[in-house]
Amino acid sequence: MKIIYTDALIIGGGLAGLRSAIATTDKGLDTIVLSLVPVKRSHSAAAQGGMQSSLGNSVMGEGDNEDIHFSDTVKGSDWGCDQEVARMFVNTAPKAIRELASWGVPWSRIKMGSREVVINAQKTTITEKEEAHGLINARDFGGTKKWRTCYTADATGHTMLYAVANEAMRRGVVVEDKKEAISLIVDDDKCCGAIVRDLKNGGLIAYVAKGTMIATGGYGRIYKQSTNATICKGTGHAIALDAGAYMGNMEAIQFHPTPIVPSGILLTEGCRGDGGILRDKDGYRFMPDYEPEKKELASRDVVSRRMLEHIKKGKGVPSPYGDHLWLDISILGREHVEKNLRDVQDISKTFNGIDPADEGEKGWMPVLPMQHYSMGGIRVTPNGESINIKGLFSCGEAACWDLHGFNRLGGNSVSEAVVSGMIVGNYFADFCRDTDIQIDTKVIHSALKKQDDYLDNLLELDGDENIYDIKDEMRNIMQEKVGIFRNGKDLEYAVKRLKELLVKSKNIKVDNKHRLLNPQLEEAYKVPMMLKVALCVAKGARDRTESRGAHYREDYLKRDDANWLNRTISYWADESDIEPTIHYEEFDIMKMEMPPAFRGYGAKGNIIENPLSAKRQEEIDNITEANSDADRYTLQDAIMPYTLQPEYKRVNERLGDAK
């Protein structure tokens, strides 16, 4: 049996995993990154619109800073996020983007002088200052007060991932692609590595490490319709669940307003950020009626719900794939589309035969909200370590540390991936450096043998269930019963049926009886993993009897701060269980920098208030008054102190300061 020893094992080679690997390699640690695919094909590459970072260079971002980015993020999360983590994030994001620039991301740069932009469907002229010429530009995105989303056309994730992957290569990070972790090695409640399947020949290898990080992205593929890549199956979460690790807020699923119909390929929020609008079957722009202030640029959970609400009123466009709405970017003009939204144009032309730069209705693209992002994930502390398994770390979309609460803002995903790779990657490196492990080779061998036997057992099964049918039914259930609008009855059915499917998945038959590259065998071990993740989502959603962010209950319309200001923790208590066990982590309002309030968009008057919110606000008002002469950093520290590596806590320089 093959055993490989290393200091730091990182599972997942997207932006978060690779940036973490740079951190560990920089501290002199032996590091191995495992990836299902060549790392430059990771799903980070599919992020289109941009990365939020409060540089405030553009005239439309003037006055932006960490405080405003923080406030937008907390409101976006519907007060579900960890505010200390949000502070760590907003203070590091400007550093992340400047680091990425130095590694070669060709960020769009500001050109001084006047140019025409489309704001609220009106052509408007904005004038960039001379001193901003050549600095990093930003576009508008949903749920933000300033133009804060930095970009490279609509291929931002691609250029970011290539820059980080190239830099990792320069620093000698060891990347092994076509390797899939199928189980964690746990000894005495400590994670000591993983059992890994080689996807080039089907062999099993044990990787033993002082610390193990899971950075495997989201679990969108448990839904029938998702913008996620085919590899986003949540297997990283499943192996952590099998090891007993706690998950956080798995029911917090984001549905993006504008994937194209029917393929479900994403059309970036940048379409609306740059001035694109949504239209109904009458060609009518309906969003201002629902959201007079933010219109198409309210947060994603709100826009998605408003779209479906409008379709329910009979205003959807009938099509062979059900009703949809239109996204119109033709009003931005051909030049803008071909320069800043060229992948959108390519996708629309290729898959739908529509050139979105064509003027008028000819260029409208059919869109419908679909699964897009997993706010939930492996529950970790602000430094990225699992709250119940020592030596197990997680960052990026895979983790719940928890930056996004119940709704993530557009542009905060790739930003989080890199920033968490910097912060958590460094804490992880410290852990690996300061930890010694003692592990009996017997433990490694038995972990290997367990997976070896498991795969053999799957091949020996002679049941009458079809694993592909089980997968299809799971994805349909998640789509129909655990979607944008949720209710107790549907969720109850979903939990019950998913449990049955999990049982059925042990009564299948694999036709080809070999352990080499065998796609059906892969389905046979992956689908039960996906079912466990799906059960965490469905049960968490069933039990959360309130509406918060993207979790919307038709039978509990209000955000319930009195009873539900908490985080859902789900885990597999026993290997033989067929559903997760759930408990809750309570929030402490009295420690928040921003106590719960109205978000500024979405339906009004839908909050069951917690009396502590007003009490804490009063306390904050007093602190603010007592510090009326202090700068914003001192004031922030007086309200909610937080810990962050000194190099990331430094003050970010901005155009205004440099004067």
């Binding site: 070669g104 740069r109 490279t152 009458d282 590259l517």
Partner: protein
């Protein structure tokens, strides 16, 4: 939308345009529901019992069907043992290159309706090591190439990430971005005659990468430095200017002009 007699979907879709209910017709890439035949190579080099063979799969075309959708359907319902590489299925990640009726293409962006005969032959990309059936090892090839051409920024100054970023001319940043759009799909390599003859040739992907760093203001390397990397027959002088790379690039990169540009620069060194 209109329906044909047998209930399958028609070619035209109608939509109501404005409050006057004026209607226009809109073409959608909707197929006929015809029977198509996809023929794929099947071979597993890691299995000593496996022999290369061609297998025909018959299936009914659905509206807007891509090769991703078709192969996913085949794998779930006809042949559970067929292997292929799909990741983003949106033409962004570059994983799914294969020969489609002899031409290197991204399978996820290929519509079955583009083939009038309804017959589609699939082969794995040449030049790359075959893993199984339609799945090839582009990762190792691209990693070797990237190390060979030092595919990263080499800077002679430290960046303090808490200070203002270096200013870059907007036009220059756009030019770098244009070349940075490469997705390492390998279609340029699979269509390249030199790559077939010379195992270590870096291909259009490698030469474009060097051109990208050559114009990047963050990179301090001189043309002499780049000459050290690609100034030989496995680099810029290996290219025979047949330019199938540019013909097949799914991102429409200006490979012809950038290879010519680099050759002029390297000849001058």
């Amino acid at each position: 939308m209109s329906k044909t007699e047998d209930g399958s979907l028609g070619q035209q879709q109608e939509k109501i345009v404005d409050s006057q209910a004026k209607s226009v017709e809109k073409k959608e890439s909707i197929g006929e529901g015809r029977e198509i035949t996809i023929t794929s190579l099947k071979y597993n080099p890691s299995n000593p019992d496996s022999k290369p063979e061609f297998v025909d799969y018959q299936l009914r075309e659905t509206p807007g069907m891509t090769l991703y959708i078709a192969l996913t359907k085949i794998k779930a319902t006809i042949d559970h043992d067929l292997s292929s590489d799909f990741v983003c299925r949106a033409g962004i990640c570059g994983a799914c290159g294969m020969l489609v009726n002899g031409k290197p293409q991204l399978a996820c962006k290929t519509l079955t309706s583009d083939f009038e005969s309804g017959k589609i032959d699939l082969l794995p990309l040449p030049t790359f090591k075959l893993i199984k059936d339609l799945s090839v090892d582009t990762g190792t090839w691209m990693k070797d190439m990237s190390i060979r051409v030092n595919s990263w920024i080499v800077a002679n100054e430290e960046t303090d990430i808490s200070k203002m970023e270096k200013k870059i001319e907007p036009k220059v940043s756009e030019e770098v971005f244009e070349l940075d759009r490469c997705i390492e799909c390998g279609l340029c390599v699979a269509s390249c005659s030199t790559a077939i003859m010379r195992e270590d040739f870096v291909g259009a992907v490698g030469l474009n990468r060097v051109a990208r760093f050559q114009i990047d203001p963050h990179d301090s390397r001189s043309d002499e430095d780049f000459y050290e990397l690609i100034g030989d027959d496995d680099g810029i002088f290996g290219c025979m200017s047949l330019l199938a790379c540019e013909d097949h690039c799914p991102k429409n990169l200006p490979l012809q002009s950038k290879i010519a540009y680099m050759r002029r620069k390297m000849v001058a060194v």
